[in-house]
Symmetry: C2
Subunit: 362 residues, 2 copies
């Protein structure tokens, strides 16, 4: 094929401030890679923007090595195979994997941090769903609820980041298990969506001055399960209302991620002693540890969607050139549901349009 | 019986400083209680001094109500029945329970927070052992190691407060399971004791300027189990060395207890995100939840003692009038092993003398 331009983001330094800029993550244009035997060339169609992208840029001890300085930014995406010298991939296949923040990626199990997987054809749901509710964020919610939190009928489950990609699904899974589910989100409009569209029993805007009183009133019987996506002061308040034997699903701590590398350091937790005093369990997990659970999890979520018991929202940002801004917007809480970047339309593949997509203004 | 004087400590206000004084916990002399039908009068022989005594005095949400202002200080002790109007207790019986910090207690299941239990006669071990290695602190160590930490051969287990009543037993239980056990304690002499007398593989004095480097060198393969008695900065350092799937036995957070009620508040944990990133589990527990496990636990510990695989030290403070000081000394780290206050000698019962008791100077 003729030489293509490859637009990509390269990490020039580890971010020091809450918002990242061109000096941290530079947007450059290069020649697209060429492939050898056993490789396929993948054109990125859609990028997943996740809270964990931020710690990937920082020099903190994590579940995966930090992105190297001057390397292309790591990212999960969906792409279309445009050229293949692999037996298991053909031009037009839609694939899921670590595309990186770039137009063209090389699919090669020997070098990719996560092997690319081929999506079903024809695609049964919109492309973006496979990065969200039917992708890693949906599976994350499923594993946290079903393996760790296990809320029972009559119990109270709290979900922070309730309007986000993981929290929105986690809360609906909690409802499906019969629990009372109380969300925490960052605006009245998000709370309205969480209650009216997603069916949570209550949702509290943690930016309201009287949020703690409202939250306490919404959890009159205490808290049995905390599906924790945020950490920090809000989590401390939750810890102060745990019931004996509570389970804390430690899924994310987004309140700290943007402070990794900042001179002031990051926020602490001051109420961990409540885990002891209430005989609670805190358990961390990483969805990428469990590729074998994806079919089970996606089947469960898709089943509830088919029954009309689970729905989702997403926030679409158009253009790879806006990916860095999309990540900053995620950290400012400007997304509802899954944040995705639309990079290109498929050339040969087809996918249903998403009915629920909100196209974000720029 | 003739009226007896009852020396006791009454909580006059919630402590505000690290060290407690007469204005917090007043030592007074009153008339001893008299008993009615279904009650027994217990003369306190020995009092257990435990880190948890301190949060009992504070107005924090805990596993038990705070001691009420002007009430007698709550405490676990061993006493001798001096008068009984209960079928199940007779004069001369040695009993274990919430004697309180006083000379005379009333044993009455309807009013005691913990029912008194009668110890075996003749007593197979020194009195003090039933407050420590064969009492609630030994059972605490057993439950934490066997139910939560479960260190395996080849794994590394870390124990903070390694020279204390619980940590000393926990580490030896870890050794018996085949783990490499590394202690953390507050003096070189304690570390010597922990290694030479208790058989830990290593022990690091956290007050040494280079303690972190030494600790890292002593845990070259990372940490699989943290038996946590301390919390705070030392725990944060431990969290930074967790292996994937590590278990944190959240047994105590003594570094914070003395700050409950202080104007500055207490220390936070800054590395809880490592629990997520290393897919670790933190689990809290309270020994008083598990009275049914005492025989199993004590049997296990006594079995290891009989085989010469588990030993203990204790620090004895003489005189009820020195109990408050004993608690302050516990928080200054001046004990090795179980801290007990010797209140009185038995009148009718007999118990073996402890060979390993260190009588603390005043």
């Amino acid at each position: 094929m003729t030489e293509q331009a490859n637009r990509c983001y390269r990490l020039r330094r580890r971010p020091r401030d809450a918002m990242i800029g061109e000096a941290d993550l530079e947007f450059v244009e290069e020649a697209a890679p060429t492939i050898g035997a056993g490789q396929a060339l993948v054109r990125t169609l859609m990028l997943s923007v996740d809270p964990t992208n931020r710690p990937w840029m920082a020099d903190v001890r994590s579940y995966i090595a930090p992105v190297a300085i001057d390397a292309v930014m790591r990212g999960i995406g969906i792409g279309e195979v445009v050229e293949s010298r692999r037996e298991d991939m053909h031009a037009g296949d839609l694939v899921y994997g670590f595309t990186g923040w770039q137009d063209y990626a090389v699919a090669d199990d020997a070098i990719n941090e996560l092997p690319f997987s081929v999506l079903p054809s024809p695609l049964p749901a919109p492309l973006s769903a496979f990065l969200g509710v039917l992708g890693h964020t949906g599976v994350t919610a499923y594993l946290g609820v079903e393996d760790i939190g296990r809320p029972q009928a009559g119990e109270t489950m709290v979900v922070s980041g309730a309007a986000g990609a993981v929290g929105s699904v986690a809360g609906q899974l909690g409802k499906a298990r019969g629990a009372r589910v109380v969300g925490i989100a960052g605006s009245d409009e998000k709370c309205r969506h969480v209650i009216e569209d997603l069916g949570f029993d209550a949702c509290i805007n943690y930016k309201a001055p009287d949020w703690a009183e409202r939250f306490d009133a919404a959890t009159p019987d205490g808290i049995d399960v905390d599906f924790e996506n945020v950490g920090g002061a809000v989590m401390d308040h939750i810890l102060g209302r745990l019931n004996i034997g509570a389970r804390i699903v430690l899924c994310g701590m987004i309140s700290m991620y943007a402070d990794y590398g900042s001179p002031a350091g990051w926020e602490g937790q001051f109420e961990i002693a409540q885990v002891l005093l209430q005989r609670a369990t805190v358990r961390g997990f990483i969805v990428l540890d469990h590729p074998e659970r994806f079919p089970e999890a996606i089947g469960h979520v898709a089943g509830l969607m088919g029954e009309g018991r689970l729905t989702y929202r997403e926030t679409l940002v158009d253009g790879l050139e806006n990916a860095r801004d999309a990540l900053n917007r995620l950290f400012r809480g400007e997304n509802t549901g899954k944040m995705v970047v639309n990079v290109a339309a498929p050339l040969n593949a087809t996918a249903p349009q998403a009915a629920t997509t909100v196209v974000a203004g720029t």
